[in-house]
Symmetry: C2
Subunit: 208 residues, 2 copies
């Protein structure tokens, strides 16, 4: 009965991580106090240190949680794109459309990326956390690069293209789009960038 017994701990831990994530996205890691997290969750400081050995441990747990969530969402979106169209290019284009739609319907008023927040404060963290961050980006690169390779084989572009940069462009536009969206308080910026990315992909592999 591991599922039902003693599960209160995992739930409290999850609530701490969720509170920490929204606070870090709003104020940064250093400005996020343990006191505010325990106040939000309703436990004491000692309770916090029962779950995390120190603040660095919290940071690492936040990243692991974030990366896992990120991976799951992306897997789901592009798997559905593939299901809707057998062709690698058109399946990818459908996936990008779904992706843009999802980004436009995010519930948060000011969505953000934890990895981006951490990368502008990376001197606060140890090597382990920075490596987790790099792994996350490489996962995006690999994921998109594999698709582009398959697509480029079936639809050879007429001129040389930097497929790696094209794969990175997805993550680049997401990170940049989140930043611009936050700065201007405009949640349409990010999905529109993804739509442009989709246009770009199509124009490279399907010239008019």
């Amino acid at each position: 009965m591991l599922e039902t017994t003693h599960r209160k701990g995992a739930e409290t831990r999850e609530r701490l991580l969720a509170a920490a994530e929204s606070a870090v996205l709003a104020k940064g890691f250093a400005a996020t106090s343990i006191d505010e997290l325990i106040a939000a969750v309703g436990i004491t400081k000692s309770g916090f240190f029962y779950h995390f050995k120190d603040k660095a441990d919290l940071a690492k747990s936040m990243m692991l949680r974030y990366l896992e969530h990120d991976r799951a969402v992306l897997d789901d979106i592009f798997r559905r794109g593939d299901e809707l169209n057998e062709d690698p290019l058109h399946g990818f284009l459908v996936g990008l459309k779904l992706f843009a739609e999802m980004l436009g319907n995010l519930p948060e008023a000011h969505p953000g990326c934890l990895a981006a927040s951490f990368c502008y404060q990376d001197q606060l963290f140890n090597r382990e956390i920075r490596e987790l961050n790099a792994e996350g980006v490489l996962a995006w690169r690999t994921r998109f690069r594999e698709r582009l390779d398959v697509i480029a084989f079936r639809y050879p572009p007429r001129s040389e293209v930097d497929l790696e940069a094209m794969a990175d462009m997805a993550a680049t536009l997401v990170e940049g789009g989140l930043i611009l969206g936050r700065m201007l308080g405009d949640v349409t910026i990010l999905p529109r960038q993804i739509v442009l990315y989709r246009d770009f992909i199509r124009s490279v592999f399907l010239p008019a």
Copy 2:
């Protein structure tokens, strides 16, 4: 003789701002202590508060300095692009090439954008600073949008394009490219994204 006399103050202030900028890009604003800044510059705490009334005043001054520098660099790059080619599209494409080259030759090992750093810590700042940040993005949008409007008039694209998003894409790729470059420790990522942006612009207005 305002230029030569009493100029030591402005110089110290500038050194404080420069030290603050590199510290903030490495650790974030909250984790940047006044003590480390005065140690780096070689003055006392009282000296710091002679130049800035409090930390918020420092933040505002940092943003103003950053935006001004940003504006000057961009003005210079694209003015040179225009000088090298009269045509609005080709002048812009030359400017983008110069821009990519400049971004590839940045002296810092881990360049970053102060505005991006601030936007992931915006709850630390007052409305005034957030507005400065938004103005900075809008300046990029306006700058690129004006060019794209002129180009679209001379080279009408065959299908509808979201010119605003295309203008924002420049800043989006710079912000995102800086983040990916930092995460992977790869300074080539950003210039390659700008090259792709250039390819995209060309393919929209000059279909093969």
